[in-house]
């Protein structure tokens, strides 16, 4: 290579980012990262998106990562810059999103002296990253950055952090290219054990009541995994359900789709999980929002579990056939072995199973009572879906009732179109995540389905959207409550609505205008469609204040302490049933 190899640490950072395929960095400058910002100023290879709060940078990078499949990159300063990133790092850890976070640190001689804007960043972020590094000399800097990208993206993806003291950024050293990096200890297994896959195929071929249960691991594994999953479903004719994180891997318009499972999943998905005899879990982790009561979870099934992370196997639920490997690699073998397998499931049994599922579907668990006078939240999402479904839209959400309604009523047909905070449940995720998605896909329609409470947590990023002309659409389902908190208070705490009502919300239309965005309000069902169309057509950021029924609740629901076959449906959910749905024991469980 003829390029010079002697350079400052700050230059190395830019060089290493570019070498690792980075085109965008989300960040916020400060004293301890000024040398890196000075290098950013002098180049054009990498664009920098200036956020308004470091947490916003983190979620924007998550949105970028989840919609592209590439690691998201964040650059923030020491001390408060780093501590503001903690929520986003933990969010990415829980949802297995690859992030590389660069933080500035006070100069090495000052570490430990309580210097200005000093924090023990690697100490604080150790439990909320997959791995982190404090770089003590410029010689190790390039290799650490290459390693960081390797660790973030390989195996089960996750966030990593590199803490770079300011003197290391100034110091001169020799750049080491990526080709000279090789990891010795962290080498995750991608191919599944063939004998295990064969055993799984054997179980599946003899199943009478099978189900496929997928999760975010299918999305993380890449487009090929979703493609193979569709093939597997089509050649087996098994019913399929998915977690919140896995929506879109199998199309919601597909014949075998049962809808999402879990606490706010569909009746048919949860009952099929409960009654199945063979469960094929693909890239999901038996989270407590999915299983409900563990001792009542799918009691009569043999369980197959495909996961790249060995620690997910047998963590919450004992499985019969564990397969450790990358979803796409394993599914490729599974599809091949299935095709070659001599016996196929008993057709009569599978037909009977589908007939049973048909009966559960006939309960029409997502039906709701519509109104001519007020916009029902479910109706709002249905209309939003109908009016955007041909536009290849990207949807992000905040956390709460609106998030569950979005998962239930927006139909995802493709992977990487759905960005939501699943594991951590971070209110304030959706707006910056939408920003990150929009930066990655400048011409796409990107909508944050938001709640009025969550959206205020990172509202400041509207200013960033305006600066970078990112025409994100913030669709607020405004019921003036923290709806999910209120729903739990109604269920658990005698309808005492302690601090879940927001008495003084801003005027969202005026707020939009203050940010240089467009504000739209819809208050009646009759005006909803026109307002949504206006939102789609505007080529600017939009805040849409959709005034929805204030007291609507989110059903179906598995109350705490109950199993999949004990769900509450909307028509059962009289005030009395709601009040007694959770017994004393369940009340501790939340």
């Amino acid at each position: 290579m003829s390029e010079k190899q002697e350079m400052s640490g700050a230059e190395m950072v830019i060089r290493a980012l570019a070498e690792n395929g980075v085109d965008t960095v989300f960040g916020y400058p400060g004293g301890a990262v000024l040398p890196i910002y000075d290098e950013i100023f002098q180049q054009e290879e990498i664009q920098h998106i200036l956020v308004r709060h470091e947490q916003g940078a983190g979620h924007a990078a998550e949105g970028y990562a989840r919609s592209t499949g590439k690691p998201g990159v964040v650059l923030v300063t020491s001390g408060p810059g780093a501590t503001n990133m903690v929520t986003a790092l933990q969010d990415a850890l829980m949802d297995s999103i690859p992030l590389v976070c660069l933080t500035g640190q006070v100069p090495t001689p000052l570490i430990g002296s309580d210097a200005f804007q000093e924090a023990d960043t690697v100490g604080i972020t150790r439990p909320c990253t997959k791995h982190n590094w404090l770089v003590r000399s410029v010689e190790e800097l390039p290799l650490v950055i290459h390693e960081a990208f390797y660790v973030a993206a390989n195996g089960r993806p996750g966030p990593v952090l590199i803490d770079i003291p300011k003197d290391v950024q100034f110091a001169m050293g020799t750049y080491i290219p990526k080709s000279q990096f090789k990891h010795t200890s962290y080498v995750p297994r991608v191919n599944g054990e063939l004998s295990q896959i064969q055993e799984a195929v054997e179980l599946m071929a003899n199943a009478k009541k099978p189900i496929i249960y997928t999760g975010g691991g299918v999305i993380n594994s890449g487009k090929e995994a979703s493609h193979l999953l569709r093939e597997l479903v089509s050649i087996t004719n098994f019913p399929i359900t998915s977690t919140l994180m896995g929506l879109g891997a199998y199309p919601a318009s597909g014949d075998n789709w049962l809808g999402m499972l879990g606490m706010h999943g569909t009746y048919e998905a949860n009952w099929a999980m409960h009654d199945c005899d063979v469960m094929v879990c693909i890239g999901a982790r038996f989270d407590d929002r999915i299983t409900g009561r563990i001792d009542g979870f799918s009691p009569n099934s043999k369980k197959i579990h495909i996961d790249i992370d060995p620690s997910s196997i047998n963590k919450n639920v004992r499985v019969d056939v564990p397969i450790i490997g990358d979803v796409a690699h394993v599914l490729e073998d599974m599809v091949r072995l299935w095709r070659a397998h001599a016996t196929k499931p008993d057709k009569a049994a599978l037909d009977a199973w589908w007939a049973q599922i048909g009966e559960w579907r006939d309960r029409r668990c997502l039906d709701y009572k519509n109104s001519k006078d007020v916009i029902m939240p479910q109706y709002a999402i249905e209309r939003l879906y109908e009016l955007t479904k041909d536009k290849n839209a990207y949807i992000t959400t905040e956390v709460g009732q609106h998030q569950m309604w979005a998962a239930q009523f927006y139909q995802f047909d493709e992977p990487n179109r759905w960005m939501t905070s699943g594991g951590l449940g971070t209110m304030g995720y959706g707006l910056p995540a939408a920003l990150g998605v929009q930066i990655a896909h400048p011409d796409a329609l990107v909508i944050d389905i938001a709640g009025d409470a969550s959206v205020l947590m990172n509202m400041q990023e509207m200013s960033c959207a305006a600066q970078f002309e990112a025409p994100i659409k913030i669709f607020i389902m405004n019921n003036q409550y923290m709806g999910m908190v209120r729903q739990w208070q109604q269920l658990l705490h005698g309808n005492r609505l302690s601090h879940s009502y927001t008495e003084a919300l801003p005027d969202f239309v005026k707020l939009a205008e203050a940010y240089g965005a467009v504000g739209i309000r819809a208050e009646k069902p009759a005006e909803l469609d026109d307002a949504i169309m206006e939102m789609i057509e505007v080529d600017k950021p939009v805040i849409f204040d959709c005034r929805v029924a204030n007291l609507a609740n989110c059903f179906p629901m598995i109350p705490s302490g109950k199993a999949h076959n004990e769900m509450l449906l909307p028509d059962d959910a009289s005030d009395e049933a709601v009040a007694t749905a959770i017994d004393e024991k369940g009340k501790q469980l939340v």
């Binding site: 100490g123 150790r126 997959k130 009561r293 620690s311 047998n314 004393e584 501790q588 469980l589 939340v590």
Partner: protein, 194 residues
């Protein structure tokens, strides 16, 4: 909030653990880099696992590898999780459950040794008795005055515990223990085990 009504304070879907915890010896080979010990300990505290003893030292200077020996206790399920959680930690090269390995190979237990320094002060009969018992336990005197002995004793945990208990009434002043060092029995080393 309603926990007082039923007398338990747990959260989420708890299934009561009925299995008895067992004690296992784990050997963990790690890169000797800053923070690696904090990472291992943080994993235990963060996930609520027990550490009953922990020993660490660099064992390969040229490769900068350290060997951590941990005595932990938990149910079989928890011990399996501990091993997997350690294995997926980035600077960890290898984790061997020495207790399981011994069982698989038909041995009773892995080889384990601990060293303790035990200071005993006293005069007259107690002093004579302390010296006699130290001989019986093959403890070495490494420091002495007319008023005290400091013993160095090496052995299995149970032997150390017993020695300390016996010294208690004879004027035990202080104890310092190294924690357990352990290797598997037989000719194989850690890197070609399991």
């Amino acid at each position: 909030m309603n926990a007082h009504k039923t007398g338990t304070g747990s959260a989420y879907f708890i299934v009561k653990e009925t299995e008895r915890p067992r004690q296992h010896l784990l050997s963990v080979l790690v890169d000797n880099q800053p923070g690696v010990l904090a990472r291992v300990i943080g994993l235990f505290s963060g996930r609520g696992y027990n550490i009953e003893s922990l020993t660490v030292s660099e064992t390969s200077h040229e490769k900068h590898l350290s060997r951590i020996t941990i005595v932990s206790s938990g149910t079989e399920h928890v011990l399996e999780q501990i091993k997997k959680q350690l294995e997926r930690t980035v600077p960890v090269h290898r984790v061997v459950d020495l207790t399981l390995l011994s069982e698989e190979r038909g041995y009773d237990k892995p080889l384990e040794r601990e060293l303790a320094l035990v200071k005993v002060a006293g005069k007259g009969n107690d002093r004579v008795e302390a010296m006699r018992l130290a001989d019986a336990f093959r403890a070495q005197v490494i420091d002495a005055s007319t008023e005290h002995f400091t013993f160095e004793i090496t052995g299995r945990i149970s032997k150390i515990e017993q020695f300390i208990a016996i010294m208690e009434p004879l004027g035990l002043v202080e104890v310092c223990r190294t924690g357990v060092a352990a290797v598997g029995r037989g000719p194989d080393g850690m890197s070609n085990q399991q």
